[in-house]
């Protein structure tokens, strides 16, 4: 549409609206009085002025334009910001119009309505009597109630039991992990990892070769320390060949991935190295068997015993020391 035509169209719309909105009170008949209900108003006034009515109409018009703009934009350029601006703006403006009309255009009334008397003792008595009437002429009420109770309880149990079909039972599924003696550790691209690739001050994410990675038992982290730095039992230290040590990636608190490593750059002042979980900041000590230094975790991070195979690659020397992942209430845990 050319600009001049647009202007003519707008002027025409404006004129029509103006004509409609000119106050024409003469034409209005006063509303018929209410018949059945006594008037309950405490105060009533009719505040409307032509200006207020015009303002409401103008606001509604602007709102309508914004809503129309939304429709057009949706077709020609569905940009999130502009769409939100148009539709949100349309609703807010129309909302202001409605609220304003509710305050300044329609009659303002203060009315009163009695709170209902809710309670009625006679009805309570009647209901009690009606309920009890069912027992008239019935002699073995206790027996019937007991039988009905039994039937209800068993039917209830029968209705609930199928919930168990939702899933498997606990047990093996939690304790079984893909880690076996001799299974190679691979990086996220599936390449076998060698001890030389693990350097001090970094954490390398590793997975069991040829196993599902997206489980709680699969991912582990590899770190390297000088062997004499590892303060742990001889058996655990032996499971860290050349100071390369592996821990489960999954926090023993609530299953998040322990993805932060605090590595002191200025040993004199900085705190000790630690593996930190970003969820609730459980802090684990990688040099002391994954012991909890701070935070809510109740158990150390499980250590995965390592070996180096004939080809010089890192492999598991067995299953985890300690149970992977969160603790489950009502379960027995294999001990560390």
């Amino acid at each position: 549409m050319s600009e001049s035509r647009l202007r003519i169209a707008l002027a025409w719309i404006g004129l029509r609206l103006l004509r409609r909105l000119r106050p024409r009170r003469r034409a209005q008949e006063p509303p018929a009085p209410r018949r059945a209900e006594p008037p309950d108003a405490l105060a009533r006034e009719t505040p409307s002025t032509p200006r207020a009515e015009l303002l409401v109409a103008a606001l509604l018009l602007v709102g309508a334009l914004a809503a129309a703009a939304f429709v057009v934009l949706y077709v020609v350029r569905p940009d999130t910001q502009l769409l939100g601006l148009c539709l949100g703006g349309a609703l807010v403006i129309c909302g202001i119009a409605a609220a304003f009309a509710g305050k300044r255009v329609v009659p303002q009334e203060t009315a009163s309505e009695p709170y209902e008397q809710l309670a009625d003792e006679r009805k309570v008595d009647d209901v009690g009597a009606i309920v009890r009437e069912a027992g008239e002429g019935v002699s073995r009420r206790g027996m019937l109630a007991a039988a009905a109770g039994l039937a209800g309880a068993t039917i209830g149990a029968a209705a609930v039991v199928p919930v168990a079909s939702l899933g498997p039972a606990v047990g093996d599924r939690i304790t079984a992990t893909p880690w076996r003696r001799g299974r190679r550790l691979v990086d996220s691209e599936g390449r076998p990892l060698r001890p030389e690739q693990i350097t001090e001050g970094t954490v390398v994410l590793a997975f069991p070769e040829a196993a599902d990675r997206n489980t709680l038992d699969a991912p582990v982290m590899l770190l390297r320390f000088a062997p004499e730095e590892l303060e742990m039992s001889a058996a655990r230290r032996a499971a860290a060949p050349g100071g390369v040590i592996a821990y489960s990636r999954i926090c023993t608190h609530a299953s998040c991935a322990v993805s932060m490593y605090r590595h002191p750059l200025h040993p004199a002042t900085a705190p000790e190295p630690a593996l930190v979980c970003p969820c609730h900041f459980s802090t684990f000590d990688p040099r002391r068997g994954g012991a909890v230094l701070f935070g809510p975790a109740g158990r150390p991070l499980p250590q995965l015993p390592l070996q180096v195979n004939a080809a010089g690659e890192l492999v598991a020397a067995g299953g985890f020391i300690g149970q992977v992942g969160p603790s489950y209430a009502g379960e027995r845990e294999t001990e560390a």
């Binding site: 209900e37 939100g84 949100g88 994410l205 603790s327 027995r332």
Partner: protein, 480 residues
Amino acid sequence: MRLVPRPDPVRDPVRFVDQRLGAGSLLRSTLRYVFPDHWSFMLGEIALYAFVMLVATGVFLSLNYVPSDETVTYTGSYAPLQGRTMGAQYESVLRIVFDLPAGNLLRQTHHWAANVFVVAIALHLARICLTGAFRRPRELNYLVGVTMLALALVEGFLGYSLIDDLLSGMGLAIAYSVAGSIPFVGGDLAILFWGGEYPGSSAIWPRMEILHVLLIPVAIGGLLTVHLVQVIRQHHTQFPGGPRGERAVVGTPLWAAYALRSIGLFLIVAGLLLLLGGLVQINPIWLWGPYETALSTNGAQPDWYLGWLIGALRLMPPLEVRFGDYVAVPNPFWGGALYPLVVFGILYLWPWIDKRRWGDRARHETLDRPRDNPRRTASFAALATWVFVILFAGSVDRFAFRTLISYEAQIWFLRGAAIAGPVVAYLVTRRLCEELRARERHPLRGWSGEVVRARDDGGWAAQPEEAPTDEAAGEAAPPR
């Protein structure tokens, strides 16, 4: 003389309905239904309108969401993720964001509406608790309200868990562990619902979807209906004064002034939510990428209304109950399950605690101002402080990076604050209410200080206080 009556656009449809349902008197009393005028009464309405927006935007989302974790390769228009394998559910949300016109607007509006919904319910609840609106005859409606609040929290959590982006995966991992920590039954419960050890079987996706788009919204909708029907039956409470007393409710009738104002409020709430959804980014799921168990990100924050649970999990010392190798209570139980149970337990019992304390079982249609019952107000302030100190603990890691105050020190401080804070809040609030009540002054309106003048001898003297004006004293007689 006309034989055919002139058509009347109002009376004719009313007559049509009345002749068939006899609904004329119901319509009449509905139009004349009286709403007391007080700003705090709008909070419930805002919650209602946010819920309407949640349903409206949620229907759009649910028709485009795919509740499946089947692996697909992303080929949509968001370049950084092209070629990446991901679950079908995450891919379907990316499609809503980038490839459906107005998709991201409606998704973000949905998320904003959820946040506003819970804010409005929480403030509504505060107004109910602080003014004594829960007293007889409104106890049942109070219970309905608290239940809706609990459902709203679960619903919000499920909502952003459906996406399977990195943040939803982390949240679900925690939820799984909290479920697993419930004494005796936890392990079986978690495995049952997830269909196996976390991340669970594929069945978890349709399960969460059905809960989020059907079961919980229908439950909230049903309770909402019960809630509003009860309000209509009992009428609103009102602040006392003038003609407003225990016998009759005084205010604006529904038709037309109140209806127009309320429609205005709905449109403004809906419009503001759309403006937020369009202009203020929320949960940019495309930045996080898909979830895998080995991944997590630092600085992840849940929606505000779950922050109190994260905070409680963080503040809890590493306490677990074990007998030998038998695990009785794993740690996540304390913060993730017991703490919200205690808070909701207190909320559920609130009307009965109040009855006990004051021996007041009478029917009340008029409200107390918060200051009128200093100890009730102080108790609520203590409860709120307990929740909000712990909520703050949910984001201390962000605070630690900003301020470089060590994380551990902050946690120790907040552990103390979670215990001492409520006591302090109780004492301060109680004192404040007593002062306000004694002086009959509004905390935000009008002058409440003392005038100090220089004396001739060089010292200072306080002007004698003016007696409260009749108007202020007459506004409401302080009880007892």
